[in-house]
């Protein structure tokens, strides 16, 4: 019994220490890494970040359990008045029970449409799966319980659409050469499809982001095949993607318009946005926005390319378009060089990181601020499309991508854009 009591006391003491350590970690991290220390000297509600330390530390010390600590920490970081600061409870980790496949795409993409996981996109050579099919299971694991859990947590999770998308792509992904079994519901009938994951395409990662296949596709769309379409799933593999993008532009000299599809693109190497924008900008001195870090303000300058495309440009986005996608879409929208179609982006344009706290909770914090050319902070707000369009189940089942369709309609109706830089 004594041993049990001693163990219990030790556990409680240990737990208490972890809560205080977690408080210290959160307070100090923000003090050290907030991109603009001056903002911490004068918080929106009055006082400074330093002023908060003692009072919140005492509250954490007196807290009865982790849930209360979480509430206190959320209140404290809320004083900064910015998004991208979050304390996520342990329950988020529960979603990890969901299947986590590899980084190789099976050749189709899925999204949450009208509460169901539907096939929203297909790679050109994919013939075994069709648009609009409902995905109900992967490798014997049903999708609905995981979706229900994600949706339940959406209210307390920043960029819920982005997280949902990432989880779904992981859910359907696999490793190169692996065969994965998918269960679809087609017209009320279950249909099993086994797909062998394609061999790695040799995409090069960057830094610690490795082993990802970077999906991209160039096609000529429209009845006359006179509209260029370039889909990019992630801003990586610079060495191959940018030359391919250049080839797409060069193959599209006589196109009536060009579409860049960034739906589901979570970002990556930021300067790829500038590089791609250079093919649509004619003047020097143009920038997409500015990234403010501690001690360094970086302008997202665009260097005009010779032989660039001067026709109408449409950029497609959704709630899972984040970071570099938002920099490109938001910047080109500000410059009035592109019309944006789809749904509001994730509002995750800031570089932010997520770390684990001593008490096991997750702590997300931003390390820089991004302001678009018009002075708009995209963080927590995202890029609002000029034309709000979303998938519908009926349209997908009919093989139609309404967002692409809206962009094509606009290009055919608008042979030129006013105010192009």
């Amino acid at each position: 019994m004594n041993r049990f009591v001693a163990g219990l006391v030790l556990s409680v003491l240990s737990l208490g220490a972890q809560q205080v350590e977690s408080f210290e970690a959160v307070w100090q991290t923000i003090a050290d890494k907030h991109w603009n220390p001056k903002q911490l000297e004068s918080l929106p509600g009055g006082g400074s970040w330093a002023d908060l330390k003692d009072s919140y530390r005492k509250r954490v010390q007196a807290a009865q359990g982790q849930s209360e600590v979480r509430t206190i920490l959320r209140e404290m970081i809320g004083k900064i008045g910015k998004s991208h600061y979050a304390i996520a409870g342990l329950e988020l980790k529960g979603v990890k029970a969901m299947r986590q496949g590899g980084g190789t795409s099976p050749g189709f993409r899925v999204g949450l449409v009208e509460g169901k996981v539907l096939v929203t996109g297909l790679n050109p050579k994919m013939e075994m799966v069709k648009l609009g099919w409902e995905l109900v299971g992967v490798e014997g694991m049903p999708v609905n319980p995981a979706i229900a859990e994600i949706q339940k947590q959406a209210g307390q999770t920043l960029q819920a659409a982005l997280r949902t998308h990432q989880m779904l792509q992981s859910y359907i992904g696999g490793s190169s050469g692996e065969t994965v079994d998918y269960e679809f519901l087609v017209g009320g009938v279950k249909k099993m499809v086994s797909l062998k994951m394609p061999a790695g395409d040799g995409s090069s990662g960057f830094g610690f982001v490795q082993g990802m296949s970077v999906g991209r596709e160039f096609a000529l769309l429209g009845p006359a095949g006179d509209i260029g379409y370039f889909r990019l799933d992630m801003f990586l593999d610079v060495v191959r993607v940018l030359p391919q993008f250049q080839q797409a532009i060069e193959a599209c000299k006589k196109c009536r318009g060009f579409v860049i599809d960034l739906r589901g693109n979570p970002g990556g190497v930021a300067v790829m946005a500038n590089a791609m924008a250079g093919w649509f900008i004619k003047e020097n001195g143009v920038k997409l926005g500015t990234m403010y870090q501690r001690g360094v303000d970086l302008k997202f300058a665009v260097i005009p390319r010779l032989g660039g495309f001067e026709g109408p440009l449409a950029i497609l986005v959704d709630g899972a378009s984040a970071s570099t996608s938002e920099i490109l879409a938001g910047g080109m929208q500000d410059l009035k060089r592109a019309r944006i179609f789809g749904s509001r982006t994730a509002g995750a344009a800031l570089p932010s990181v997520i770390e684990s706290l001593p008490n096991g909770d997750l702590f997300q914090f931003a390390v820089a601020n991004y302001v678009s050319e018009s002075g708009q902070e995209l963080e927590g707000i995202g890029v609002k499309p000029d034309s709000a369009v979303a998938h519908t189940a009926a349209a997908l089942r009919a093989g139609k991508d309404l967002v692409v369709g809206a962009a094509l309609d606009w290009i055919y109706a608008n042979p030129s854009l006013p105010g192009r830089p």
Binding site: S204, G205, F206, G207, F208, L236, D237, V238, V239, L242, V269, V271, M272, N274, A275, G278, T290, Q293, R294, G295, V296, D297, L298, K299, F300, A301, V302, I303, R305, L306, V367
Partner: protein
Amino acid sequence: MRILLFLAVLSIGYAQKAPTPTAEQILDRYVEVTGGKAAYDKVKSVTMLGTMEIKGQNIRGELKMFRQDGGKYYTVVDLPGIGKQEDGSNGTVVWDKTVLGPRIKTGVEKFLASCAAGAMSEYGRGALEKDSCYAKTEVLGEETLNGKPVYKLRMTPKEGKPEEQYYDKATGLLARTKMIIPSPMGEVPIVAVVEEYKTVDGITTPSKLTNEMGAVAMTMTFTSIRFNENVPAAMFALPPEIQALVDAAKK
């Protein structure tokens, strides 16, 4: 004992009164301790091969630098996942070719790049060619850097923002440079820390440097430094994309 203490105090007082050298003397000493002007005068070209690493981010690539009399230079860094980032001059056109695209440098960028193209590279630049690159050099005082006393110099280029150079008081070697580099992304403050020197053919040159830019630190390590190697003329020729920009500008 009292006499010893008195002598010690006297010597401290004497040391404190030692005059601070002029900027010119500090720069001349740097040239002297790294090989001497006569040795530098013999250098017509420099080839430096090594690596560049972005600290803590698992990014490391090959780095090659070639410099030749006449303001010619070519630098290429090949970073995994990013590809070749190039920077060069044929003595007339100063350019770079990065992820952002090909570009011709003008104005302050061109001036500073040309100044850095000399045999001493950008590390300690001005020591040899201060008259051509700098309008003013002055000593700001003495400081302690990593426990070592250093002279702090402010070098004001004829174009661009002043930079600060820190020279080790004991060795005369350059320890650190704080500068603001103009770039398409804006003015980027950089702290260049010399971590190691290597002596080749009688010339002592920085062989390991870390450039700190905000939260990012890039370390360049040169495993091979060669002087007066025969560098093919094609090394400094303009790449086709740059030549196209030159041609387009003429139209």
